[in-house]
Amino acid sequence: MTDNDTRGSPYAPHTEAETATMLDAVGVDSEEALFDIPEAVRFTDELGIEPESERAVRRDIERTLSRNDDLTELLGRGHYDHYVPSLVDHLADRSEFLTSYTQYQPEVAQGFLQALFEYQSMLVEFTGLDVANCSMYDAATALGEAATLAQRVRSVSGDRVLVPAHLAAGRRAVLENYADGAGVTVEAYPMDDGAVDTDALEGSMGEDVAMVYAETPTVRGVIEESLSAVGDLAAAQDALFCLGSDPVALALLEEPASVGADVVIGDASTLGLGRSYGMGLGMFATHEDYLRQVPGRLVGAGEDESGRRAYTLTLQTREQHIRKERATSNICTNQAWVALRTAIHAAWLGPDGLVELAEDCVRYPQDLAARLDEIEGVQAPVHDRHHFREFLARTDQPATAVAADLRDRGYAVHDVGEHLLQVCVTERTTAAVDGLVDAVAEVAP
């Protein structure tokens, strides 16, 4: 092949002679003769896409992407930037993993199945729940699936799902769609200084509540302190308690099972993926009771004919390719490869590394908030709570203007209200914190 050869597909290996032989065998004169398309719907125009060499495509995309500003991002709100060790890329990119298909032939897919089994096992440890599936698309769709699960498993029907008033707009919007199809409405319960207002939540409860959702940390980075109370309120009405979190937070925070969580969802790609414009990995774990109502794929241990342990996709009768419209979900292609990355990253950190990373996620925002709070025109954190990775800061100046000024100085923060900024700091950005503090000191007063 020549890289400049753009006459056909560079990935089709046919020589002219082979093509001729094959056409002969089929008994037609040309490739065109194989297309059984009525004249009326034939497309005879040009698509108008110019082919380019591999070299040119790489160069062009590199140039295009370089139009993204070079900013230090202190952004979070559901998409986080932890350092992904080099090992993850190198192992997950092995073509046997990356280019394989769903494990419908487990005898030649033991490697990926075992890796997913190990991923599921890690989530079981993180959540304290019995089972975890091997991925949903992201936290938002996992939350949506939790709502449909709640509908299916609840003994009495309920058509309300309660969610915190502080919830990422994207997560809520996705949930609304899933809930709508399931005939459920979504209602927000109020927050008290950034955390669940348990009294207000209690007032909202009723037997028509199918699910109560809470998050720790919240979208504002607040670590919830009343999760057991939320669990109790949900249990009292036979509602499912769905908790949103992520593996880094769960390495440190209360085990979800211990606070009564029935389902844990969240973005597991906080390990393994890094910044990727919001791409994620939906975590989904629940009780064994709900096993047959779980959405998505499950990997189980079994035995092969020689009696050796072997892994396989299991309980597939829940899934769309068998159960069709009565499946537990429509999901087919999932985020398996991201789960592989997450598992490698978690294994690389090990329990010590995970706890240390999580503790840093408490210390960094605490320290930064304290430093910002000393700056004239800034009060931080807004909520008098423990924080994880991020926190709100109040600015005397309009937040939009402060955020724009910070951008001019090379820093991106969230502008979340008239006088509210949100700042996220991880081990990837902690070195930039001095610069940020200086910049805020310049622009905030």
Binding site: S9, E125, N177, D304, A347
Partner: protein, 464 residues
């Protein structure tokens, strides 16, 4: 050689909390118990696991309907460019590069599908179906119509049924005609004022083009329904026919099938959705467009947006690979990809000893294992060093062997595949039943595994 679980190599329980903890103990867990292994040990573990896994670079992967193409290496490098690693909540001005790529891919996909507007948000094909059905639903509701049914042919992908149900629709299953295509009479009977949409794959899962597509569209549209195109088989048509020109109103693209992004052992994929102009106001939010005056790109909320099907904006790392692939191939490459995919399917169909009903085929064909069990045939093919086709589906062919070589296989490889098919065709049931032998695991008892689900190392009897 058995590779132990990570937990069989080590588990270490570390205490959490205590005096040095930044949190009070009542907010922390007591301990965390996970394997603690060094990087060299992990490198060997996952290297070994990879060696127990078959990918596209291991050999042919002729899974019908799954379109397992070779994934060009350079697209991985493009996805890894550091400038693309940005947070989605940045203001538009600061991510003009990312938005330009997205707008570019929207444009490419619109041209390829004959659609007027495309959203990249759905993170997989099924999510695309779901988004598409949400769009149809919103459209009908905006028109004051309460349509409750979605019609799906019996030969359709399971996701079609499930996606319609997820959106709250009743599913009406449409029986296929004897020639494996849509039965127009059955369609007329099924479609009516309750019909929100007909979901259709074309060519269908038998590899057959729905020749009556214009009539089909007319029936659906006359009833006030919308026509939805399942893009799973789009690889058969690139540059030769476009769903938008056939009367489809909505479609999704499976970028890992048509545009060669890797399937990653199950995902991630991406399921962009294209619509005709009258449906564009219903697309998910945000959508990317060129700014008035051409000064770059912006995200906006379409007027009647269905909201969101992903927490952010989809699977960026997959989308950029699809963009790179399309840019590399262009018109001639895409057309040639389809030509060679169709040639390969037709050629292979002539080379296998199994009966191959129906035809003429586009990108795939469905052979019948006849008296043999198709699943056993598949297991036995593994022993010949090739990946087997999709089996036992679609059900319209008994003991189906649904085979799609794609354009990336050479004649030499197709001949090897045919030899594997034919060797197995000549073997007895006992041989098939005992297969596979040459794989890292022998035949796995899936029924037993499902009867006694053990889904984590914590659940293993031996406690390991």
């Amino acid at each position: 050689r058995y590779e132990p679980l990570l937990s069989e190599k080590d588990t270490t329980e570390v205490a959490v909390g205590g005096d040095d903890s930044p949190l009070p103990d009542d907010l922390t867990r007591d301990s965390l118990e996970l394997p603690a292994l060094s990087e060299p040990e992990l490198a060997r573990h996952y290297t070994r696991l990879s060696q127990m896994n078959y990918g596209v670079e291991s050999g042919p992967f002729p899974l019908g309907s799954c379109t397992m193409k070779y994934n060009p290496k350079f697209t991985e490098d493009v996805a890894a460019l550091p400038d693309g690693a940005v947070h989605p909540d940045r203001p538009d001005d600061s991510v003009q590069g990312t938005l330009a790529v997205m707008a570019g891919l929207q444009d490419y996909l619109g041209r390829i599908g004959g659609m007027d507007a495309v959203t990249l948000q759905p993170p997989a094909g099924a999510a695309g179906e779901y988004a598409g059905i949400l769009i149809a639903k919103a459209y009908h509701e905006a028109n004051g119509e309460e349509r409750t049914e979605v019609v799906v042919p019996d030969s359709a992908h399971g996701t079609n049924f499930a996606s319609a149900a997820l959106a709250g629709y009743d599913v009406v299953e449409l029986p296929s005609a004897e020639d494996g295509r849509v039965d127009l009479d059955a369609l007329e009977a099924a479609v009516g004022e309750d019909t929100a949409a007909l979901m259709l794959t074309n060519p269908n899962t038998l590899g057959l083009f729905e020749r009556d597509i214009e009539e089909i569209a007319e029936v659906v549209h006359d009833a006030g329904g919308l026509l939805y195109y399942d893009g799973a088989n789009l690889n058969a048509l690139l540059g030769r026919a476009r769903p938008g020109d056939m009367g489809f109103d909505i479609m999704h693209y499976n970028v890992h099938k048509t545009f060669a992004t890797p399937h990653g052992g199950g995902g991630p994929g991406a399921g962009p959705v294209g619509v005709k102009s009258d449906l564009a106001p219903y697309l998910p939010s945000p959508h990317v467009r060129e700014r008035a005056g051409g000064s770059g790109y912006e995200r906006y909320e379409p007027e009647h947006s269905v909201g969101k099907v992903h927490g952010f904006e989809g699977n960026w790392l997959v989308l950029i690979k699809a963009y790179a692939y399309i840019a590399r191939l262009g018109d001639p490459g895409l057309a040639d990809a389809s030509a060679k995919a169709v040639l390969n399917a037709n050629y292979l169909a002539t080379q296998v000893d199994y009966e191959v009903p129906f035809g003429p085929f586009h990108h795939e064909f469905v052979a019948s294992a006849g008296e043999q069990d198709a699943a056993d045939v598949a297991k036995r093919m593994l022993d010949y060093g090739v990946h087997p086709p999709t089996t036992k589906w679609p059900e319209i062919v008994g003991e189906a062997l649904m085979t799609e070589p794609t354009e990336v296989e050479s004649k030499r490889t197709l001949d090897q595949l045919a030899a594997a098919f034919d060797a197995v065709a000549g073997e007895d049931d006992a041989t098939l039943d005992a297969a596979p032998h040459e794989t890292s695991a022998r035949r796995i008892d899936q029924v037993a595994a499902a009867r006694n689900p053990r889904l984590s190392w914590q659940a293993l009897d031996d406690g390991s």
